[in-house]
Amino acid sequence: MRRLIETNGWTIGLGLLLALLLLATRLIQPDFGTSGLDSLARAALPFALATVGMAVVVIAGGIDLSVAAMMAVASVTGAVLMDGASDGQAVLAVIAVLALGLAMGALNGALIVLTRVTDIVVTLAMLFVWQGVALLVLNAPGGGAAPWLRALVAGGITLPGVPAGLTGWLPRGVVFLTAVTALIWLPVARSKLGLMIYAIGSDASAAFRSGVPVGRTRIAAYAIGGLFAALGGLSVTMGTGIGEPIPGPYLLASVAAVVLGGVVLGGGRGGLLGPILAVFVLRTVRMDLTLLSVDPNVAAIVEGTIMVAVVMFGAVLATRGRGA
């Protein structure tokens, strides 16, 4: 138990911080409740999926600057394919978009491995490529989304036979996020691929000497990152009902949440739950500042300050812990 707390201290701390922030929200806005949680979850969903994708790549010792652009490609491709399609066709469209995400990520990874150009340079270049592709597919917001897909992330959870009061407060967006992340990441994390992703991020040359296929593992990590980016793009379409060719501010937000979530830039350390909690922490802070009607420009300064303060606080705790 003590060990569990020691190794997951950062994540637990973030969970507590989030709980405190939600309590504070309730104090600021006494009628904050189910609908407030729901809109918070829906706003956070694309950010969270982008962050998860980024976290996988960062754990593997890389970075993918094209994450937001890949989301845009996925969003418009999904919206175009689903526009006027039947439910059955929409399922196929979703599968196609997810496959596209895997392919985009794998291409990013393959370019890095084969050309040996730095990940930052390659993915920065690919950022422009994917942005161009997204605008080619759809040069203005448009398209459509299947109603069942939109229903996946809107509103609270209702279970047959269970009173709505028990589960109704839990936003579908949060359940969707948890489900897809667990469905994709848990099998990976428990397999050798998961170990190898941490291994190449921790020490690529030691991993190579241990017989890990470093190049292929790196490509796999970028592909998983691409898959989550595609899910993030779909979630944009699911939330708004249309495809968005111009990506939102997901790139920098995802890097920020990854760092705040306890994943070490440089690789090898951290998990996915921390970054997800960090996204909600950052979104809740923003929401609270809006509720307090703080000038948006001042709010941005406050958000940045909080991030630096939290990360530095963590570093101080870590060095104390080692000294004791």
Partner: protein, 499 residues
Amino acid sequence: MPDAAPPTAILDAKGVAKRFGAVQALRDASLKVDRGQVVALMGANGAGKSTFVKILTGVLRPDSGHVRIRGRDSSVASPAGARRSGLVPVYQEPSLIPDLSVADNLRLGDTPADPFRHWAGELGLPDLRPDAMIRSLSLASLRIVDLARALAIEPDVLLLDELTAALPTDLVDRVLRVVRAQADAGRAVIYISHRFTEIAAICDRATVLRDGLTVGDLAIEAGIEERIVELMLGGTVAAATTGTRGARSRATDVPRLRVRGLATGTRLSDVSFDLGKGEVLGVVALEGQGQDELFDVLAGNRRANAGTVEVDGRPAVFTDPADAIAAGLTLVPGDRAQALLMSRPVRENIALPLLARPRRWGAIRMRDEAARVTRAIERLQIDTRAQGEVRRLSGGNQQKVTIARWIARGVQTLLLFDPTRGIDIRTKNQIYALVRDLADQGAAVLFYTSELAEVRLACDRAVVIFNGRAVDVIDAKDADEPTLMRAAYGLSEATGVST
């Protein structure tokens, strides 16, 4: 004597060659290891040993020649491939993932857990927790974990590279017993070590490399050390008797640098010496005997665990490089890239230490600085046709820049770490002359070199470090290569370490 016994040869490498750009690292290396044998692979610095190891373990692909394991051509191009064909290496740098637990590291290499636990216990780590993070283990434990992991796979050929370098003596004994038992059980071991006592204790044969060639394959017997040293040195023995420099009359007053019982980390355990003004003191050591740590402590990059340093008779403790520089000690590191701003011009690089004094943080007095920099450039005959960036200069010229920057400042104590590695002979001679000039002007120079012949060419005396201890001080006139080599291998310590 190499005897032809094809059925028992479990690893057979023949005619292996490898070239890196203009450097022919290996010309014709061969190695044969039979079942039931421990074979030592030996070679002086630059003999091509590490390249050969990389080829045997599949990290590099040879340009020509072949490596056969159990009679099958192992045209392995990856560590995983070498492992599949039955060769498992334990490298000098543990190949464990720092951010994974012991158990996860085992899973990563498909190592069975029970045999691993058995071997870890056998090697002196019975209480190792499988969920312990690699990051939290000591270097000695890491090496044991790495070895136990290799043993658990039950490899046909075990390659051990400087395995005992970071181990305390009680562990060394256990490790040697286990390694010998492996061979006695019918497996084969390739054993790389600088320590003749260990080789005498467990090895059956020794294969010696020199200049990328296998020059000998000897059975280990009493007194074989001399023969191995001779083979490692080859023809260079005669060549190095030129340019004898008598020991200069050392200044009898307070030495510039007095080091007593210096120790840090696992490698540097007890080094003492005096370095006088006007003296060039060589440091001779095989790789990884603690010389890196010694220079790091003297340059303020690292703190000592024990021992004292006195500068001009005053005790000195350096908490960072600026302290050492303030006390007049300046390091020219082995890695030029560490010292230079590669993408800035030569002049800026030379001027930087001049400017990096707080008193000078104001405006730069251009004319004054420019003159000093120009003098330094002329003095060193640096080819500045490449006016632009330092990285465009040749290696030799870059090295001259690293020295020039400190000369421009007026150096008191210069710490040179292998300054002539990979540099052409003309530039080498310029550097020797420069070092001598500096000494004649009163500077004290500590000169670590991986080329034994340089001791006579550039130094007055040399302190020999073996296994973290200063084992000998030799005057330049007596410092022929065999003497230095014997001392560096810890053989001269009691003239009879040979068992």
